[in-house]
């Protein structure tokens, strides 16, 4: 055990930025960027509407199309769709690893992407958000679903705690966006609802047209052996879940249990 005596370690290694989990609906609204130091090489952060800053992000979804939009050199643009919207992912020669990895993706395919968010002003003055990937990995539907769940959890957490845990960014975000981002709790809830529907392995008819072709991957993935941790019977159980039941869980007033919901609301006012 030669390594046991290596007490001297590099101590001033800059800490790596954590990859924030964020849905497309929120990231695409995160148009305000800032730095925490004058240093040219200081990291650029986006202010998430839910009140935290993000430099690195971790996203997942379905790649629905990839197009080379480069004029001279290869410059790939990928549409990556999550339950709440579309991430626009661009990779060129400076993202060599990601570019190589994207070339191998055959839409539709589930991927996880680690990268950074980038904003740019369009001619009409509005700000668009895109993703610059560092790495792209093809994943199974279980991994993608776990991301949806985790991202919903982080989003809800931010909505509830960012005001205390990152008050500066929360204040900044409120000033910049004119609201407190709490509506993204609904987005998280919507994504979770979508997860329950996805768990049925049925085509989701009323969702984005981009997502229609997911069903092939849904069926293929569990058979690859390595990712078979989800009990098949759970899927059967989800399938029997009625729409009313779903709505009840998600607090949809049109889905029944109105009295209970309003009683609950009232008790809080």
């Amino acid at each position: 055990m030669a390594a046991a005596d290596n007490t001297a370690q590099e101590t001033d290694v800059p800490s790596r930025e954590v990859a924030k989990r964020v849905f497309a609906a929120e990231l695409n609204r995160a148009t305000y960027t800032f730095k925490t130091s004058q240093d040219e090489r200081a990291p650029v952060y986006v202010a998430l509407p839910t009140g935290e800053r993000a430099n690195r992000i971790c996203i997942a979804g379905t790649v629905t199309e990839i197009e080379d939009v480069g004029e001279n050199a290869e410059y790939l643009r990928a549409r990556v769709v999550d339950p709440t919207g579309t991430f626009w992912v661009y990779a060129g020669e400076y993202q060599a690893d990601a570019l190589n990895q994207l070339r191998k993706v055959q839409p539709p395919e589930f991927v996880t992407i680690v990268g950074k968010s980038r904003t740019y002003k369009t001619d009409d003055g509005s700000v668009n958000v895109s993703v610059v990937p560092e790495d792209v990995g093809a994943v199974s539907i279980e991994t993608r679903n776990a991301w949806v769940y985790e991202t919903a959890a982080r989003t809800l957490e931010r909505v509830h705690t960012a005001r205390e845990t990152s008050p500066k960014v929360a204040t900044l975000a409120r000033e910049q966006y004119g609201h407190d981002g709490s509506s993204f709790a609904h987005v998280a809830a919507y994504a979770l609802q979508d997860l329950l529907e996805a768990g049925t392995h049925n085509p989701v008819e009323d969702a984005h047209e981009e997502r229609l072709s997911d069903t092939d991957s849904d069926i293929d993935t569990p058979t690859d052996g390595t990712t078979d941790d989800v009990d098949e019977s759970e899927d059967v159980e989800s399938k029997t879940l009625s729409q009313a039941e779903l709505g009840r869980q998600l607090g949809d007033p049109s889905a029944g249990n109105l009295e209970q919901r309003y009683a609950h609301d009232h008790s809080v006012e």
Binding site: V13, R16, V136, S182, L192, Q193, Q249
Partner: protein
């Protein structure tokens, strides 16, 4: 606040057992109370300071060995011979502790001032120990269990070790005695996260062929031993990220095979087919990025040395999607409007209005 009498009784309890017999009567509770009274009321010493002053006075006058007195006072909270402190709890720099552990490994001391150095272990974990030559410690044998009384915890860079000094007492235990440590545990850390980055010098690497050296060589040269063919090895240095923190992880060749199903021979074959050693790293990256792992192992500096790994993408759903989702929403008392994908873009924007019933 205690009365002087109570303070006197407390102090007597502490110093009483250490007083030599011939002056035990000179320092009974009454005598100590009188001393307190004189310090506090006559000489106006604050109560807190008086306690320490009276104690030092008594120890000095009675000729008590202060080092062994303090060692035994500390002993009370830091393990005893009957109830030794687990190694995993030896994490207070400078604490005097009593532990019971087996010598796992002895290393070659680097200087003459060190009598023995190595690794000891009990059920809770392993730790480095150092016995200084000047303290005349007994010779310890690998594989034997000892009780180490009055050894001192030393911390350097968040790594803890035990120092055996001249006041330490070492008791050997027979291998078949109930005290003998059978299984040595490891202090391990568990981390779950998404594999977000492969670090350089991963995949197929070459290590210096010098038997004492395990450095990775680059461009056919070891920084210590010069030009060198190198011996192939397979490993992963990568980063897991759970959205709140990152953890750098080191996978040995065995763990690399466990996680990606490629062993050293296959990796060497891949490299020779491609005439390029870096294909291995690219292949590993491709297989790992974006996947979710739970790893377990001891921490070595910044790295978690993985000795168990599993890919469990759907672990949060082990009770079913519905249970997981219901659990999460109720955790936040979520009771908002149902959304459809059409109206996500027209979200009702709020300003300082709690979205969930119950709390904000």
């Amino acid at each position: 606040m205690n009365s002087l009498r109570e303070d006197a009784r407390l102090l007597h309890e502490q110093v009483g057992p250490h007083l030599p017999e011939d002056c035990a009567d000179d320092y009974d509770v009454d005598a100590i109370e009188t001393l307190f009274d004189s310090y506090v009321n006559t000489y106006r010493v604050p109560r807190g300071a008086a306690f320490d002053s009276v104690r030092n006075h008594v120890l000095r006058e009675a000729g008590v060995d202060t080092d062994s007195f303090w060692a035994s006072v500390r002993d009370d909270d830091q393990g005893t011979a009957d109830d030794p402190l687990p190694l995993a709890e030896c994490i207070i720099d400078g604490a005097w502790v009593t532990v019971r552990a087996k010598i796992v490994e002895l290393w070659e001391p680097r200087t003459d001032s060190i009598h023995q150095v190595g690794l000891i272990g009990d059920e809770s974990g392993r730790m480095k120990f150092v016995a200084w030559s000047k303290s005349n410690p007994p010779v310890l044998e690998e594989g034997t269990t000892y009780t180490f009384k009055n050894v001192v915890v030393d911390e350097y860079d968040e790594n803890y070790s035990l120092k055996i000094n001249s006041r330490s007492e070492i008791v050997e235990h027979a291998g078949d005695s109930p005290e003998a440590v059978n299984t040595v545990g490891t202090k391990t850390t568990v981390y779950e996260g998404v594999f977000v980055a492969m670090q350089s010098q991963s995949g197929l690497i070459r290590r210096c062929t010098d038997p004492e050296c395990t450095r990775v060589i680059q461009q056919g040269e070891c920084s210590e031993h010069g030009e060198n063919e190198g011996k192939y090895d397979l490993r992963i240095k990568g980063v897991l990220d759970n959205g709140e923190s990152v953890q750098e992880c080191l996978f040995t060749a065995g763990m690399t095979e466990a996680v990606v199903g490629i062993n050293l021979e296959e990796a060497m074959q891949m490299a020779s087919d491609a005439l390029d050693i870096s294909v291995v790293e690219r292949r590993l990256t491709e297989q790992l990025i974006g996947h979710r792992f739970t790893v377990e192992g001891p921490l070595l500096g910044r790295y978690l040395l993985v000795d168990e790994v599993s890919e469990v993408p759907g672990r949060v759903f082990s009770q079913g999607y519905q249970t997981a989702v219901e659990g999460l929403l109720s955790e936040y008392d979520y009771d908002g409007p149902g959304l459809t994908v059409e109206n996500i873009d027209d979200l009702p924007q709020t300003y300082d209005v709690p979205v969930a019933a119950g709390k904000n």
